[in-house]
C-alpha cells in the first residue's frame, strides 16, 4: 500500500466518521460505494469535500470518468497522483 493510499484510507475513516474500522480494513481496490464499504450518496459528497480540503482535488464536470474515480481507494489515489504537481 502506498503512502497516498493509506492517507486516503485515513481520510475516509476520519471524514465519514466510520466506526470500528481501521485503515487496514479498507481493501485498496474494493468498491467504496454500494457493496464493499457500503458508502452512500451523501458520503460521496462529504468525501468530495474532504478530498478537496486535504489534497486540493478539484473535480471537473467535463470529466466523463468522475464516477469511476470514486470507485475505490486505488482509483482515487491514481486520480490525485495525476492531478498533483510534480514533486509534491
Amino acid at each position: 500500500m502506498t503512502e497516498l493510499e493509506s492517507a486516503i484510507k485515513e481520510l475516509i475513516i476520519e471524514a465519514l466518521e466510520l466506526e470500528d474500522l481501521a485503515p487496514d480494513d479498507i481493501v485498496t481496490d474494493a468498491p467504496l460505494f454500494g457493496e464493499g464499504l457500503g458508502l452512500d450518496s451523501i458520503d460521496a459528497l462529504e468525501l468530495g469535500i474532504a478530498l478537496k480540503k486535504r489534497f486540493g482535488l478539484e473535480l471537473r464536470s467535463d470529466d466523463p470518468d468522475l464516477k469511476q474515480h470514486f470507485r475505490s481507494v486505488e482509483s482515487l489515489a491514481r486520480l490525485i497522483a495525476t492531478r498533483q504537481p510534480q514533486g509534491v
Binding site: 466506526e19 470500528d20 457500503g38 452512500d40 459528497l45 462529504e46 469535500i49 464536470s61 468522475l66
Partner: protein, 581 residues
C-alpha cells in the same frame, strides 16, 4: 414574446402546444412538443392494448417518467410511484400493480409505431380530474408503508398555486431532487409541463455537473434540497451561481439558518424553502433572509391545536376536512408561523423520511436480534446526522458477535436493512447491549438510547478523560467485557507526577460507573462502593479488560479491571432504590 399558455394538466394533451414548443432539455438537445406528444402516443398505445389497470412507473429517467405518466393517464389507467429506486422498494409496491413501465420497457417500444399510417391522429381527450390520478408510497407513523392517492384535481390545484406564486420567474427548470417524490414530481416535471417551461431531463446530482448545466441553461429555476444546498458551498464557489439562478427551491427538510445565510450573502437571495409532506402537499414557504417564519401557501389554512400540533385545510388535500400533521409549532398574529420539530417518531435523515418504528421492527425480525432501538445522533464533526442502532442480541446473535466482531455484526444487519431502506438511512453506529434503557415507567426515552452512543468512538474521548472502547462482548453468564485502550495522551495522566504518569484509581471506578449505567438497567442511586481494591498502577498506552457483572436480583455491579500485566482494580458497586425524589 408572449409567455406560453398555462394549461392545467387535465387538458395538457387535449389542448396541446405548437409543434416546436420546447418541452425538455435532454443533454444539449431541446425536445419539442411534437416529440413529447409522439412519445406519449407510442407508450399510450402500449398501455391501452393491455388490460392492466394499475401501472408501476419505475422509470429512472425523468423525461421517460413524464411520458409514461401521461400515457397511463390518457389510457384511463392509474399510476403507482415507488418510494425510491431501490430494487427492494420497487418490489415492495410491485405487488399492488398489474404491470410496470421502466426505462427498458420504454426503450424497447418502437418509436412512431402507434401513429404509422394513421392520419389525422385521433386527438387526446381531456382527462377527468376527479378520477384520474396517481398513488405515492411513504413510510407512515405506524411503521407500514402508506399508499397516498393524489387525484389530478389535487395535483392541478397545487401546480396552479406554484404558477401563481412563482410563475413569473424566468428560465428553464434544473433539478438535483429526484422526480419520484411529490416535491420533485410537482416542481421539476408537472409544474414546468403545465406552464410550458422547459425542464432539464437530467438530474444534476454532482455539483460540478450542476454548475455546467447552469452555465449553459441559466438563469434557471433550481429544484434542490438541503442535503445538496448545504454541501454545495464547500465544493464549488457559490459566486458561480450568481445571475444563473432566478430562484433556488429547497424542500424535504429545513435548511439551516447558516446555509440559507450563505446563499443570501453571496447571491442576494436565500433559497425558497417549501414545507409540506406527501400526504398534505405544500403547506407553506419561506426565505430565510433575516427571519425563520413560514408563510402558508395561498389557499392553505393553518392552525395549531392545544398540543401545538400544526393542523391544516388545503385545496391540495382530497377533501375539505382538517388534517393534523406530526409537526409542532407556534402561530404568529399575522398568519405566519414557526416550526419547532416533529412530535412523533418519524424522522428525516438527509431529507429521507424514516419511521424509526418500521426500521426497528425490521431489525427485530432478524435472527440475531431480540430487540432494537434507534436513535438519531447529532453530527460530530461533519454536517451529517446519523442513525445509531442499539441491539439486544439473541443467543445466536451473541455467538455471531463473538465470532465476527461488532463491525461484521453491524455490516450484516445493514445488508439486511438495505433491502427496504435507502443506503443513506442505514444505521452507522451499533451498540450491542444486554438490555435497552427502559425507564421506571417502561418507556424508552430517546435521550437514553442516544446516550448509549456517547461514551465511545474514535476521537470522542481519547483526547479527554475517557479511554477508547476497542471491543465489547457479552459472556455466556451475562457479564460484559470491555476492552479499553488508555492512551498516553489522556488528560488524567497529566495531573499526577511529572515524568511518572499514573492514572488515578478513581478514574477507573468512574469508567466502571459510566459503562455500567450504559449497559445495564440500573435502578436508583449509587449507594455504596465495597470490596474495593487497587492492586496495580495503570501505565499509559495500556489496553484494559473491564469485566462488569450485573446481578438483576440485587442490582449490584461487580467489576474487575485487568490487563496483560494482571489485575489493576476490582470492587462492587451497590445501588439503592431512591425514595420519592
Amino acid at each position: 414574446m408572449t409567455p406560453p399558455a398555462f394549461l392545467p394538466l387535465a387538458g395538457l394533451l387535449a389542448r396541446g402546444r405548437p409543434a416546436d414548443h420546447p418541452v425538455a432539455w435532454i443533454g444539449a438537445r431541446l425536445v419539442p412538443w411534437q416529440d413529447f406528444e409522439r412519445r406519449v402516443r407510442t407508450v399510450h398505445a402500449f398501455v391501452a392494448r393491455s388490460d392492466a389497470r394499475q401501472w408501476l412507473l419505475a422509470c429512472a429517467d425523468p423525461f421517460d417518467f413524464a411520458v409514461a405518466l401521461f400515457a397511463v393517464w390518457q389510457a384511463g389507467r392509474r399510476a403507482l410511484i415507488p418510494p425510491s429506486q431501490q430494487p427492494g422498494a420497487i418490489e415492495a409496491v410491485a405487488g399492488e400493480a398489474d404491470a410496470r413501465l421502466d426505462d427498458a420497457t420504454l426503450a424497447n417500444l418502437p418509436a412512431g409505431a402507434a401513429d404509422a399510417g394513421r392520419t389525422p391522429l385521433v386527438p387526446f381527450a381531456p382527462l377527468d380530474p376527479a378520477h384520474c390520478g396517481l398513488d405515492l408510497f411513504t413510510s407512515g407513523t405506524s411503521g407500514d408503508a402508506q399508499r397516498i392517492a393524489k387525484s389530478l384535481a389535487q395535483l392541478d390545484a397545487e401546480v396552479a398555486t406554484l404558477q401563481a406564486q412563482w410563475g413569473a420567474l424566468p428560465g428553464p427548470v434544473l433539478a438535483t431532487a429526484p422526480h419520484h417524490h411529490i416535491y420533485g414530481l410537482l416542481f421539476r416535471l408537472l409544474w414546468p409541463l403545465a406552464a410550458g417551461r422547459p425542464f432539464d431531463a437530467g438530474t444534476c446530482d454532482v455539483p460540478e455537473l450542476l454548475l455546467a448545466r447552469l452555465a449553459t441553461l441559466g438563469p434557471a429555476l433550481l429544484v434542490s434540497s438541503p442535503a445538496q444546498l448545504a454541501r454545495l458551498p464547500e465544493l464549488v464557489a457559490l459566486e458561480a451561481l450568481r445571475g444563473r439562478c432566478s430562484a433556488i427551491f429547497s424542500s424535504g427538510g429545513p435548511l439551516s439558518a447558516s446555509v440559507a445565510g450563505q446563499y443570501f450573502a453571496t447571491l442576494g437571495q436565500a433559497p425558497v424553502e417549501v414545507y409540506g409532506s406527501t400526504e398534505t402537499g405544500g403547506i407553506a414557504w419561506r426565505r430565510q433572509e433575516g427571519e425563520d417564519l413560514w408563510t402558508p401557501l395561498p389557499g392553505v389554512t393553518v392552525r395549531f391545536d392545544r398540543d401545538g400540533v400544526l393542523c391544516l385545510r388545503s385545496p391540495f388535500l382530497p377533501d375539505a376536512a382538517e388534517r393534523a400533521t406530526g409537526d409542532g409549532g407556534v402561530a404568529l398574529a399575522d398568519g405566519r408561523f414557526r416550526l419547532t420539530g416533529r412530535i412523533d417518531r418519524v424522522v428525516k435523515i438527509e431529507e429521507k423520511r424514516l419511521s424509526l418504528a418500521e426500521m426497528e421492527s425490521r431489525l427485530a425480525a432478524h435472527a440475531w436480534v431480540r430487540e432494537a432501538a434507534l436513535a438519531v445522533l447529532p453530527a460530530r464533526g461533519g454536517t451529517r446526522q446519523r442513525l445509531g442502532a442499539a441491539v439486544v442480541a439473541t443467543p445466536e446473535g451473541a455467538r455471531m458477535l463473538e465470532a465476527i466482531g461488532r463491525r461484521g455484526f453491524g455490516d450484516n444487519l445493514r445488508r439486511h436493512l438495505a433491502h427496504w431502506f435507502d443506503a443513506v438511512l442505514l444505521p452507522r453506529r451499533w451498540r450491542i447491549v444486554p438490555a435497552l434503557p427502559y425507564n421506571e415507567r417502561g418507556k424508552l426515552p430517546a435521550a437514553a438510547v442516544a446516550a448509549l452512543f456517547e461514551a465511545e468512538g474514535p476521537g470522542s474521548g481519547s483526547a479527554g478523560t475517557l479511554p477508547e472502547v476497542v471491543r465489547e462482548r457479552q459472556d455466556s453468564d451475562g457479564s460484559v467485557v470491555l476492552e479499553l485502550f488508555v492512551p498516553a495522551g489522556l488528560e488524567l495522566f497529566a495531573g499526577h507526577f511529572p515524568g511518572f504518569p499514573i492514572l488515578p484509581g478513581v478514574a477507573e471506578v468512574h469508567w466502571v460507573m459510566l459503562h455500567a449505567r450504559r449497559l445495564f438497567p440500573l435502578r436508583g442511586r449509587f449507594s455504596r462502593l465495597s470490596r474495593l481494591k487497587f492492586l496495580k498502577r495503570v501505565a499509559p498506552d495500556t489496553t484494559l479488560q473491564m469485566r462488569l457483572a450485573f446481578d438483576p436480583a440485587t442490582g449490584r455491579i461487580d467489576f474487575t479491571v485487568g490487563s496483560d500485566a494482571g489485575t489493576h482494580a476490582s470492587g462492587r458497586i451497590e445501588f439503592a432504590e431512591a425514595a420519592a425524589p
